[in-house]
Amino acid sequence: MQNSAYYLNKKNTKSNEIRICLNCDLLQNVSDLKPGFNARCRRCGCILVSKNSGALNKSLALTIASLILFFPAVCFPLLRVKLFGETKSASILNGASDLFNSGFFFIAALVFLFAFLIPFLKYLTLFYTLLSVYFRIKLPFVSRVFKIYCLIKSFAMEEVFLMAALTALTKLDSIADYEIESGFYFFSAFIIISVSAISVITDSEIWERLENL
């Protein structure tokens, strides 16, 4: 007796691929895509497959760049504020440790977690996985590492922090003189590059490549 997995595989010729829509659970055939095109779900319109030429190269390069930019972005001061004759500079790590020292542990933990630790882990795990996929070496625990990436990726809020810094600037505008410091530019560059690193490759493509290592 033929089992259904075999049946489906037989039908699954080279030019056709069976895909299931993750958002509405519709099973459909996707024909071979040209690079640069997306296949959308017939029923709900969400993207099923997207092919991007050289996605792996681009995304590895951009991930390395964003990891390099991450440290100056986080450690260098974002703003320098002159308030009643006293100058203060604020960076993410400084701000978190300031809050911790003044006893606001919960807020300090939130800033440290969502603006520093989770973004860092996100790009580190992505880098590790892409490295493994790119050189076709099965690095230890690579699928577990990428699973961690999939779980934490929606909790990284570095771009929200940048927006908050801009809002803080405008709020302080009436009472203080401020200067934008180098960290701000590093941070903006980090966000632009990291967002493009993620958007050139889809998670399902990385999973497929991981499976075929």
């Binding site: 033929q2 049946y7 029923r43 807020i107 809002t167 803080a168 009436s174 999973w207």
Partner: protein
């Protein structure tokens, strides 16, 4: 999604892994203990207890939203005078000083977005409960919007953390976070979890037209 095997007549189920979207061909009565061959996470037909969990997170978020608005989110003290700002009075202060775009940003991030998330998800959950046969695409889109805007309500928390670390000159001028911001952070985190635990495939379970 059930798949009918023409040769054997067995009904098999094709299930996509929730984490890595690998397809699995399972028996109709498969058990929850099956693990994904690719990423090792458990396979569920739908996220486990999705609607219940989402309701729980949403109701908790709605409860936390009340103290978040009553208590001051920050206190500003300058030269011995202290002023507590709640979320709404903060927006008001921006409007009074004529900073309209800023008032808009803070209003959107800290009042509109949390409420839109809570009530948007509640609406979707109710529509599933009452088996609406309408607006499938739009409801899916609404879920994606809710998921996308979620983290932007964290802006207020970051804003206050920045102001606290910048404006800390002891008696001359200082900003301290108030109890409201803790509750507000809980609201944001709970709504994030609510959006994560919701499974958009539940919306489409009621749709039997144009399958395959």
């Amino acid at each position: 999604m059930t798949h009918y095997d023409e040769t054997s007549g067995d009904e098999k189920t094709i299930i996509a892994c929730n984490v890595c979207s690998k397809l699995h061909y399972c028996e109709k009565s498969f058990k929850d203990t099956v693990k994904c061959v690719r990423c090792g996470s458990r396979i569920y037909k739908r996220k486990k207890d999705s609607a219940q969990k989402t309701w729980a997170f949403l109701i908790a978020a709605l409860i936390f939203y009340i103290p978040a608005n009553i208590y001051p989110i920050m206190t500003f003290s300058a030269f011995g005078k202290t002023r507590g700002d709640t979320i709404i009075s903060g927006v008001n202060a921006f409007i009074k000083s004529g900073l309209w775009p800023l008032a808009f940003i803070v209003f959107t991030a800290s009042i509109f977005v949390p409420l839109a998330k809570i009530f948007g998800l509640m609406f979707i959950l109710c529509s599933i409960k009452f088996k609406w046969d309408l607006f499938y695409k739009e409801r899916t889109k609404l879920y994606f919007i809710v998921e996308f805007i979620g983290k932007w309500s964290m802006l207020d928390v970051f804003l206050i953390s920045l102001l606290t670390s910048i404006v800390s000159l002891g008696n001359i001028a200082s900003v301290t976070p108030g109890p409201g911001i803790t509750y507000f952070a809980f609201v944001v985190i709970l709504t994030l979890f609510a959006a994560m635990s919701f499974d958009p495939r539940l919306i489409w379970d009621n749709n039997n037209k144009n399958e395959r």
